[in-house]
Amino acid sequence: MSHLHQPSPHSSPLLELKEVGFGYHRRGRPDREVLRGVSLSVTPGELVALLGPNGSGKTTLFRVAVGLLPAARGSVRLDGRPVMDWTRREVAQRIAILPQLPTVPDGFRVEELVEMGRAPHARSRFGASAEDAEAVERALIDADAVDLVGRRVDELSGGERQRVLVAMTLAQEPRLLLLDEPTQHLDLAHQVALLATLDRLRRTRGLAVVAVLHDPALTALADPRVVLLNAGRVVADGPAAEVLRPALLARVFDISVPTALTLSGGSPRGT
């Protein structure tokens, strides 16, 4: 990327959702309200952990944020402009999204899949530029996937595959990364390493990251801004220490306070 953003509290928001509502439809009639007035803005250099129970609207929020689904109410702005006014390619140059259940096609090699991340930047009809090659290489290093180069993606383990997919989204060199459960299938070491990498990219390149995470203890480790989503509403938004309180987690996830205390690392936070 030519324009490196330094993280700054005064940066204008990269992505800004205001009072966004969305519901899926069945036979033309509204079926289920998934987002009920979500407001969220992300500035360059921010690391945001998105937590919430299953079905709380995290994945839908991502889809609406990149314009794959149109917001029924409210507004979604990317770089100050309604997200639906950008072309798909323009959005892809700014936001990379790692789906929760990606399809990995048979037969491709690791480096071929990672190179697909360069698609939104492609200028030539055929082949890849030196810039593409460098981006792919950087992404492979950042995602700790260099040792997988040359192997077929369909023959990798779940965790190895996840590292390759993370590398693909990094190769896209977006300004905002939306990661839907990026730590799934990863062993403990790779979970910690991924969060450390995201934190480094945030600091050095001004990358903004919104990641769906499920583990409060792991989340606390990265010390991000935490957004807690429940039933389509933002119920808490703030520093990890403020949001990851056992009492709040217990209420949102419908578990007991002692359990929540254990799951969030054993030490009570700001209760």
Partner: protein, 363 residues
């Protein structure tokens, strides 16, 4: 350090050397197939004579050792048939790749969303109409720009059936690929039933109807080739430029869209081009099976799934396969080319599949 060494040569898709080697190799195979197919036949124009005649026609100083009828056999009978085989094979091979990626289904072939059924209906109507309605027999021999009514109606039928499938599949909001596939299947079945109905009432036209349905390259002449070639070449060339989209579609809709693919227009363009190519091929030669389904798989096993190479090599491979299969069909005499492709191709494909499966399980 390790990273640079490991990745630098690998990034950027197939290296120019590999691409040249693979495409060049496929081109050589195709040219060799064409030369052999032109040189072999039931009449006494052998391979050396064929090469001599072609050389002579190209203005090379070759002494005439052949019968005076030989050039006519070569240029008016064999060559158009071989060229038609190459054209149809290229179209079906390429369109097969596109439909398999588009529908993300290994069982997809160029006929899957209605092309074959629609083209059959068109051709069968053209063949049987004069039998069923004797008044039409007066116009049966007419040709438009030297092209038979059956071919024109087959082409129109292929396009029409796909248009119908697309319209039906789009009802009820966003059409997804499963809906498209199932709609194609349903419409094909319906149209096939009408074709069967015409078939049983076709009387003395039965043989030519069945012949058309099994596929044959015998009916192709230069006028038909001149119309079909731009459609197949033009469509395939435009498809080649879309290799990146085809690769991305394999990642699933959400990931493809996330990487900048505008799904609806991208798919529409691919369906349109692949249908155009398929309809031209079917109009020229009838519904030749197997090529469009299996050639993409054969090529994928050999060189991998990257559409940058998969698409052009499947075109060239499909062309070579059909030229050779038709040669066998001619030499055996009277066997439909579709039967040959399946009889020889299917066991070969099974063997290759078995070998590939073995290769992945051995350490």
């Amino acid at each position: 350090m390790r990273a640079s060494v490991a990745t630098r040569s690998l990034v950027g898709g197939p290296s120019l050397g590999r691409a040249t080697l693979v495409i060049g190799g496929a081109l050589v195979v195709l040219l060799a197939s064409v030369v052999v197919a032109v040189g072999l036949g039931s009449v006494e124009v052998g391979l050396p004579e064929a090469i001599g005649i072609i050389g002579h026609r190209l203005g090379l100083p070759v002494t005439e050792t052949w019968a005076s009828t030989a050039p006519t056999i070569l240029f008016e009978v064999r060559l158009p048939r071989v060229l038609a085989g190459a054209l149809v094979g290229a179209g079906l091979g390429g369109a097969g790749v596109v439909f398999q990626a588009l529908l993300r289904n290994p069982m997809a072939d160029p006929y899957v969303i209605g092309t074959a059924a629609g083209a059959s209906l068109g051709a069968v109507l053209a063949i049987t109409a004069p039998v069923l309605v004797p008044a039409l027999a007066l116009g049966a021999g007419t040709a438009w720009l030297g092209i038979g009514l059956a071919q024109v109606l087959a082409f129109a039928g292929g396009l029409g059936a796909v248009a119908l499938v697309l319209v039906i599949a789009r009802q009820g909001g966003r059409s997804n690929m499963v809906t498209l596939l199932l709609t194609g299947y349903a419409v094909s079945s319906l149209v096939a039933a009408v074709v069967a109905l015409l078939l049983v009432s076709s009387g003395r036209a039965l043989a030519s109807v069945v012949g058309w349905l099994l596929g044959s390259l015998g009916g192709a002449g230069y006028p038909e080739l001149a119309v079909a070639a731009p459609l197949v070449f033009g469509g395939s060339a435009l498809l080649l430029f879309r290799w990146r989209t085809l690769n991305l579609l394999l990642l699933g809709d959400e990931a493809a869209a996330g990487l900048g693919v505008d799904l609806v227009p991208a798919r529409r363009g691919l369906v349109l081009l692949a249908t155009l190519v398929t309809s031209a091929a079917v109009a020229l030669a009838g519904t030749i099976g197997f090529v469009g389904l299996v050639v993409p798989h054969l090529v994928r096993l050999a060189i991998g799934p990257d559409h940058r190479l998969l698409l052009p090599v499947s075109c060239l491979g499909g062309a070579a396969l059909l030229v050779l299969a038709d040669m066998v069909a001619r030499l055996v005499g009277g066997v439909p080319v579709g039967v040959v492709t399946a009889l020889i191709g299917a066991p070969f494909f099974l063997w290759l599949l078995h070998r590939a499966a073995g290769a992945t399980t051995t350490p």
